[in-house]
């Protein structure tokens, strides 16, 4: 480990192998009774084979950029990378992001106002390679190298000199998966430079030019979804089975006859869940059915391919995959003839379908999209269609703000109105709302666990969120007091589930997690028994 500051120029150097100490001794400290996590090794070492085969930045692998076997292969790889860079800056190949990208590449004042905004950089104790501007500066240097304009000394004067070799390229690719794209850094930039966007664009380059993306996002993610209908691998028949099973469970749990409408022609609303809910958290679609039926809403699920899985992983790494999935979602809704799509508790699906896809829909895909948080706020707070007893939620509750829904869409108050209405012991995290911290599972991390990556996302990426949650419940430390961490997002829930397990927070602090609609279902005054069952996961 060198003692001088790491710079993008170091990306191309053979030594040191790692650009961090790999120990992260200065990590963000956790309060009692979690001190034992302050000194523990952050992650297990990689196997020798993995260290040999893939580009290394910090002793962790999320992507795995393979080392070329021959000098000729390396030369071809470099040429392909430079071609990809040019495509990234081309109006034909990157029209959807060209202007925002160029603005961010050309106007950074290198003031580092973004650094402290980043929960990963802060939680790591200030590891240089996690600084939001580090990989952005690296990309700027690569862009300068790709243009090959003027003498090299000028690039050096401008700090834009980076060796272009397989190691620097591979490290850039791997580094693109050390940022959750939460864009808190962009919020802090006085100029409007967006380092999160730059990371997004780096990911795209490797996916769209090299076909290189984490298997969980591409092969087992968007490609699987386009082929069989869902990233869970669930086809339409399996969906119907799952819904039938959930309906039976809900009927038994509530004592009410629960029937989830599927492919109901003429329904007002198409509800689209993250299909992971059917598998990992069936109580969430179950509670949705209970609440919507109790309120007399005209709604339906779809069993069309992709119509029952709101996820769109392309948002995080690939424009072609993103557009394909978004268009299929709109086509399903159009075919059903619903008045609107309501996106259930999945943050990135909210942003993908409502915001980012907005300008790629022509008149033929004209179906308005709305958040279920907004619908729930109306049903709980305004419509008078639900008979609720907040005393049923007589436990401490805090609310996690999914970045995609809050900072990136401005949906802040509806979920708070719901929680305030049904949870008498609600407390905010600090900070919250548009200033929230990411759970550490954003941009696909929650579903990625190759090699030792899960250790990294829990011990570094999610550390700030855990600290926030512990602080929110600091006045009730007794683990016998059951506390509810409400996260209205599937990916956030996945990360929080893993965080609570990794840090033993359910055992040590009595913290459980779940979605928003479950709290509403639990507050239904006429339910014969509580909806929540207080398992580690509901």
């Amino acid at each position: 480990m060198t003692r001088r500051p790491i710079t993008p120029r170091d990306l191309g150097r053979r030594h040191p192998d790692l650009l961090t100490t790999g120990e992260l001794q200065e990590r963000l400290r956790l309060p009692p009774p979690y001190e034992d996590f302050n000194g523990s090794p952050p992650w297990a070492p990689l196997s020798d084979d993995a260290r040999e085969r893939f580009a290394q930045v910090d002793g962790v692998l999320a992507l795995g950029f393979p080392q070329p076997a021959t000098p000729a292969e390396e030369e071809a790889l470099v040429e392909r990378f430079l071609t990809g860079l040019r495509r990234l800056l081309s109006a034909d190949d990157n029209w959807a992001f060209l202007q925002p990208l160029q603005l961010s590449l050309e106007h950074c004042a290198r003031c580092l106002s973004c650094s402290d905004a980043c929960p990963i950089f802060t939680a790591s104790g200030g590891e240089e390679i996690y600084r939001p501007n580090f990989r952005a500066e690296a990309l700027r240097a690569f862009v300068a190298a790709s243009r090959r304009r003027g003498p090299a000394v000028l690039r050096r004067l401008a700090g834009r000199d980076v060796p272009v070799n397989w190691r620097s390229i591979g490290r850039l690719a791997e580094l693109a998966y050390r940022c959750t794209l939460c864009r808190r850094c962009a919020q802090a930039c006085p100029i409007g430079v967006d380092n999160g966007l730059i990371t997004h664009e780096i990911r795209k380059l490797f996916s769209q030019e090299f076909g290189l993306a984490p298997a969980e996002l591409h092969r087992d993610g968007s490609a699987l979804q386009l082929r069989v209908g869902s990233t869970t691998g669930m086809g339409p028949a399996a969906l119907r089975d799952a819904v039938e099973f959930i309906d039976d469970e809900m009927t038994e749990k509530t004592g009410w006859p629960v029937a989830t409408p599927i492919d109901q022609a003429g329904a007002d609303i198409l509800v689209v869940h993250n299909a992971g809910e059917f598998v990992a958290w069936p109580e969430n679609p179950g509670a949705t059915a209970v609440v919507l039926n109790a309120a007399g809403v005209s709604w339906t699920l779809s069993s069309e391919l992709l119509g029952y899985d709101a996820v769109n992983y392309g948002l995080w790494y690939d424009d072609a995959q993103f557009a394909r999935v978004a268009l299929r979602h709109a086509q399903v809704a159009k075919k059903l003839g619903v008045k609107k799509i309501v996106i259930a508790e999945c943050g990135h699906a909210h942003k993908a379908l409502t915001v980012v896809a907005d300008r790629i829909f022509g008149v033929e895909y004209d179906v308005p999209r709305e958040s279920i948080l907004t619908l729930l706020a109306d049903l709980v707070c305004d419509s008078g269609r639900l008979k609720l007893d907040p005393a049923r939620n007589d436990f401490p509750v805090t609310l996690h703000d999914p970045c995609n829904i809050v900072r990136l869409m401005g949906i802040v108050e509806p979920q708070r109105r719901v929680v305030r209405a049904v949870c008498p012991d609600f407390r905010e995290m600090a900070p919250h709302g548009v200033d929230n911290y990411c759970c550490g599972g954003g941009s696909g991390f929650a579903i990625m666990s190759p090699h030792n990556f899960a250790d990294w996302r829990l011990s570094v990426a999610g550390r700030m969120k855990l600290k926030q949650v512990l602080e929110a419940f600091a006045d009730r430390p007794d683990p016998a007091v059951r506390k509810y961490l409400c996260a209205p997002c599937s990916n956030c829930k996945g990360q929080l589930r893993d965080l609570l397990a990794f840090y033993h927070a359910t055992e040590r602090s009595g913290i459980h997690y779940g979605g928003l609609v479950e709290l509403v279902a639990n507050a239904l005054a006429d339910l014969p028994r509580p909806f929540l069952e207080w398992n580690a996961a509901f």
Partner: protein, 318 residues
């Protein structure tokens, strides 16, 4: 020598400033439509902006009027431009130096316009502002004030920013030689400007006269060397400004209005945006198998297919 060079550098600098800025603005304005990528809070959301909310918080938002609180937006812009509010909140130690730096340059920009306007008026009108009273005197005294206070504030800010960059380990490593040279060059310009006021032209009247002659292309009487040096350095500075990150002074319009605050939705029933049709007709060259670019394929072709499985996908083996 300086007397001969000053007009050339001033004109060259002004042409590069105007031409470079115009070219950059046109280049950005002509870029293709991009997808929405907004970031909250957005001030024109009106009352919801206080908590960072958007129109998407409303049930059936597409049936309701879209908020566009122009007053709130202008107030937010004023807070950003004049008080650097974002920097103050997020990076107070930077704000301490950045505020005088920016205010100094605002003053100097204003005084440059006044010097140019006053100089041209004096040259063409055959009078001296300080002697005509009324608006002329007001212009004269305002210019005199700005020509002192601007460089002074900017110099304080620049020296502070330079010291901060050199004194902070992280900032130092993000400060390439060119950035240091830039700050030193600014210190040089500001120092020369203040020296010209102190030793040669305390009221900026000679500067105004000289600029008036240069802008009206008239041969002028000799001016103090410090004034000519001031003009030479000014020409060099404004000439390279559009080609550096300092162009954020006007490009923030795009970073904020065209990206960060651009939350305009496509309303149901609106005709298809012709820019979308144009975008979908663009050729795509990305070579990954699942994208399948090249061979004359367009974005429309690609998003319409199912995305072939990616044989070259090398996801990390677990």
């Amino acid at each position: 020598m300086l007397h001969a060079i000053a007009p050339v550098l001033l004109w060259l600098g002004l042409l590069l400033l105007l031409g470079g800025a115009a070219a950059k603005i046109v280049r950005y304005a002509r870029m293709p439509m991009h997808v929405r990528w907004e970031l909250y809070p957005i001030p024109h959301e009106g009352a919801r902006a206080a908590h960072g909310g958007s129109y998407l918080e409303q049930l059936d938002w597409w049936t309701r009027p879209l908020p566009h609180d122009r007053g709130a937006m202008l107030r937010a812009m004023a807070g950003e431009i004049l008080l650097l509010r974002g920097v103050r909140e997020r990076n107070p130690s930077l704000w301490f130096w950045s505020l005088p730096f920016h205010f100094g340059f605002y003053f100097m920009a204003a005084s440059s316009l006044l010097v140019a306007a006053g100089g041209v008026a004096e040259t063409l009108g055959g009078f001296r502002l300080a002697q005509v009273g009324g608006w002329g005197a007001a212009l004269h005294w305002t210019t005199r004030f700005l020509e002192w206070e601007g460089p002074l504030l900017a110099l304080i800010g620049t020296v502070g920013l330079l010291a901060r960059r050199l004194g902070d380990r992280a900032l130092r490593s993000y400060t390439p030689p060119a950035a240091l040279l830039n700050l030193l060059f600014m210190i040089g310009i500001l120092g020369v400007g203040l020296a010209a006021r102190r030793h040669a032209d305390p009221t900026a009247a000679l500067l105004r006269a000289r600029v008036g002659e240069i802008l009206t292309l008239r041969a002028g009487a000799p001016a103090p060397a410090l004034v000519d040096l001031e003009l030479c350095l000014f020409g060099l500075f404004v000439g390279y400004l559009p080609f550096t990150f300092m162009s954020h002074a006007y490009m923030k319009f795009f970073t904020w209005h065209s990206v960060r605050w651009d939350d305009r939705p496509r309303r149901p029933g609106e005709p298809t945006d012709p820019r979308l049709d144009a975008a979908l007709r663009r050729p795509i060259g990305w070579r990954a198998p699942h994208v399948g670019g090249g061979g004359g394929r367009t974005w429309g072709d690609v998003v319409g297919d199912d995305g072939a499985p990616a044989p070259r996908d090398k996801g990390v083996p677990s």
